[in-house]
């Protein structure tokens, strides 16, 4: 949710602290800040607070609670708006299924003048990355961003009047029914989608909670409008968004189930703003409100708060939090009975209040405490059994690798693979291990001394259709374990608990990671006649010193004696981390090495 500090400031008499302090306040007491640039903050509102905090009023309320600054005015605490009580003769609303739409308010406004918005309105919208369209549409967007209530305005003259009255309906779409949205996109619908329709013609004029229809779009010549402030079911809206791949500011809010009470506040604010920026007269407001929410009081004791948090708060510190958050409460015998205001649909159980206390006081106030001692030894036997198997293999020169669980073919398939070429789960580690071995052999000269070939193993879950199990697989057998020793084992049925019970896995302390080069390596052999008793280590360093920075390995791979002379053969590996080496380059280095060795009295064969 993008918010502007200037917009938030409208809620306070006192000057807000600088952007950094505001960002910190949110971060440590409410929500992460995705980005902060100049006046604009992108606040990552948590899912449990998206019902009331996807708007400036909600975020101002939070900021006020955190900084202990009272709101100068709170539109949601003003008296509930009252509309004309007599039935509106010129407008009616019908809701087909109250589970899908718990409230629908519609207002008929005549005589508006559609045109550009005043500068303050344009600037406010632009400050949070929105585009100005016209004064009426901007008013609906502004109020949504301010209070969180999605709103929409239809051009009344594009609807049919019957007996002098407009009729709005909320109903399921018919199979194959078509609608074109304001953006000009056409959709063919299924009966799970909910439509707003002109009941006099049964023609769709909007996709409920998502986007208005082209059929009733406002234009410069619009004079009469019907304003919608409603509440649609969050699950339905979410499914519609997925089915149509169409996310809007309205759908985002409805998905998070704002209170239907909010609709009246949204309507009041938007009618006021339309009157201000576009003129016109409110003829009547219809309020179909079949299902009213009920928020029960929630109680929590001081001992429960401190008992869960491990804190030492006193009554005053807790009541301060409730006061700052504007949560009405009673205190009796160290128990707090909180009556959540309508918009705080997230406060349902005592632990929700514990969280409010913890975060508003700040989790820094919680002093780290070690867990109490527990009797008995923790059960790590199975883990240690598996690690003992691994240690045995490492001792035999094996290297452990880890590969992907997704493969081309298997017995269990994903319904929704990410990589369409890898739709199955592996039934065995064999294929992955074979691939890894082929690759390892290719890189062996870079990593292992000449003559040594890589030996790999993997421990991982495999998924044959009979059911998953943990497989251990090696690329070759271990001679020391006998000729018939297997290269594969089912660790899910092996008795690893007994095997590991008293085993202490070997602990390693690796150093920092050195990224490997992505460029090819080059091999060169060099053979020398050396005087007897020539030190191999010294010769190796001699080669390294003259090889420059591209040398990766120097290994002695052969030596023999003939007619009193000793021959050493070294394998040299060259590689650059920046480019592919050329033959000429490596030849140049070899000449330098050969020259240096010759000067040292070693004869290059």
């Amino acid at each position: 949710m993008k918010v502007s500090r200037t917009w938030l400031q409208k809620y306070f008499d006192e000057l807000l602290p600088n952007a950094e302090a505001v960002a910190d306040a949110y971060t440590f007491h409410a929500f992460e800040i995705d980005s902060a640039e100049g006046d604009e903050l992108d606040v990552k509102v948590l899912p449990n607070r998206a019902a009331d905090c996807l708007c400036h009023r909600g975020l101002a309320k939070e900021l006020g609670a955190i900084l202990n600054l009272p709101l100068a005015h709170d539109p949601l605490r003003e008296p509930t708006p009252h509309y004309k009580v007599e039935p509106c003769k010129e407008l009616s609303v019908t809701i087909e299924d109250v589970k899908k739409c718990s409230r629908y308010m519609a207002a008929l406004v005549r005589g508006v003048k559609v045109g550009p918005s005043p500068d303050w309105l344009k600037e406010a919208l632009e400050s949070v990355g929105q585009r100005s369209i016209n004064n009426v549409v901007d008013a609906t967007n502004y109020v949504m961003l301010d209070l969180g209530q999605p709103l929409h305005a239809f051009d009344a003259q594009k609807l049919m009047q019957k007996d002098g009255a407009y009729a709005i309906g909320v109903r399921s779409a018919k199979l194959g029914e078509k609608i074109t949205t304001l953006a000009g996109d056409a959709y063919e619908l299924s009966p799970e989608r909910i439509l707003i329709v002109d009941s006099n013609t049964d023609a769709p004029i909007g996709i409920a909670g998502v986007r208005g229809g082209k059929a009733a779009e406002l234009t410069q010549s619009t004079v009469d409008i019907i304003v919608e402030s409603a509440n649609f079911d969050g699950t339905d809206v979410r499914r519609t968004v997925q089915a149509l791949r169409l996310t809007t500011d309205a759908s985002l809010r409805f998905q998070n189930r704002p209170s239907p009470e909010l609709a009246a506040y949204g309507m009041q604010a938007v009618l006021e703003l339309i009157r201000k920026v576009a003129g016109g007269e409110v003829i009547g407001v219809v309020d179909e409100y079949p299902v009213r929410p009920h928020l029960a009081p929630v109680s929590v004791t001081l001992s429960r708060i401190n008992g869960l948090l491990g804190s030492h708060f006193v009554i005053q510190e807790v009541t301060d939090v409730f006061n700052q958050l504007g949560l009405p409460y009673d205190v009796a015998n160290e128990a707090f009975i909180v009556t959540p205001p309508f918009e705080r649909t997230d406060l349902l159980i005592p632990e929700d209040l514990v969280e409010e206390v913890g975060r508003i006081r700040g989790y820094d106030a919680i002093v780290p405490a070690p867990l109490p001692n527990m009797e008995g030894t923790p059960d790590q036997a199975r883990f240690r059994g598996i690690e003992r198997m691994k240690d045995q293999l490492v001792e035999q020169g094996f290297v452990e690798i880890s590969t992907q669980s997704f493969v081309k073919k298997g017995e269990v398939y994903l319904a929704n693979p990410l990589d369409k070429t890898m739709p199955a789960l592996r039934t065995s580690l064999e294929a992955n291990l074979a691939d890894a071995l082929a690759k390892a052999k290719h890189y062996a000269p870079l990593l292992l001394p000449p003559g040594e070939s890589p030996k790999l193993f993997e421990v991982g879950t495999v998924f044959p259709k009979e059911g998953e199990y943990l497989e251990l697989r090696m690329t070759e057998g271990v001679p020391a374990w006998g000729e018939n020793a297997q290269t594969v084992d089912n660790l899910s049925i092996a008795k690893l608990e007994d095997y590991g019970k008293d085993y202490e896995p070997v602990q390693y302390r690796p150093g920092p990671y050195q990224p490997f080069s992505l460029y090819p390596f080059v091999l060169r052999d060099i053979a020398l006649w050396v005087p007897p008793d020539t030190d191999v280590g010294r010769t190796t360093s001699h080669i390294r010193e003259n090889a420059g920075e591209l040398i990766r390995r120097v290994d002695l791979f052969d030596h023999f004696e003939k007619e009193g002379r000793t021959s050493y053969a070294f394998r040299l590996v060259f590689q650059s981390s920046e480019r592919t080496l050329t033959d000429e380059e490596v030849n140049g280095i070899m000449e330098k090495i050969t020259g240096a060795l010759a000067r040292a009295g070693l004869e290059v064969r």
Partner: protein, 233 residues
């Protein structure tokens, strides 16, 4: 990965944590239902979770918190009042992969349940863990968060001073106090026992500790990666 889990197991073992395992192909029941994730929660959508063809209600576990459900149920069955477990294991998320995201990764989940385990104990446990694993200078910080299975919920940040670099706060793990519905779903009495739970990616921890640039290296099966660590004795 094995080396890291050994060290983690050793540190948590000294704080009384055992190690538990569970299936990677998990039921919706243990992956979501028992963890207070409502049936129409976005996390269950196709875009976050891998579902199995021809087996409705079966998913590749999206967290090892599913093992927490199973272990808490065992705890209730055995009539125990105290239990501490960590669950290192592979988890799967249906999300695009890049240098910091993999569709399959290792998660370290854990919980400590007892008559009076608190959020302060969670902080103390992680302070000990990070000091032993990342170094003496490590610190722990909590920020507010939201998870269905915990209330209150927090993000756990670690202050880490990498060798030769300035210290920084890093987002490492999520955690909180187990939601009463989770305890009740397992058959425990949420008025008698309480506890904390946590979960975070292990790759992320290792990337920080060893300076590994790309998360995709871990499960590439490439031995050049294994050989990329100079061993310090």
């Amino acid at each position: 990965m094995s080396i890291a889990i050994r060290q983690i197991a050793d540190i948590f073992g000294r704080m009384g944590f055992g190690i538990a395992y569970g299936p990677e192909l998990e039921t919706e029941h243990y992956n979501f239902d028992t963890l207070n994730v409502p049936p129409d929660h976005p996390a269950r959508d196709m875009q976050d979770t891998f579902w199995i063809k021809g087996a409705p209600g079966t998913v590749l576990r999206t967290h090892t918190t599913s093992v927490t459900s199973r272990e808490l149920e065992k705890m209730a069955g055995a009539g125990e009042h105290e239990k501490r477990m960590i669950m290192p294991g592979k988890v799967f998320r249906n999300e695009a992969t890049d240098m910091t995201h993999e569709a399959q990764f290792y998660q370290l989940d854990g919980f400590a349940v007892g008559p009076d385990v608190t959020l302060a104990n969670l902080k103390g446990t992680f302070e000990t863990f990070y000091r032993e694993y990342l170094g003496e200078g490590a610190k722990v910080r909590f920020r507010p968060s939201f998870f269905g299975f915990t209330e209150p919920s927090v993000e756990i940040d670690a202050w880490y001073e990498a060798p030769g670099k300035a210290g920084a706060w890093l987002e490492m793990s999520g955690g909180g106090m187990l939601h009463p519905s989770v305890l009740e779903a397992a058959g425990l009495d949420s008025t008698k026992v309480q506890g904390f739970a946590f979960g975070g990616g292990i790759e992320r921890l290792l990337m920080v500790k060893y300076g590994i640039p790309d998360v995709r290296l871990f499960h590439s099966g490439d031995i050049r990666f294994v050989h990329g660590f100079e061993e310090r004795v």
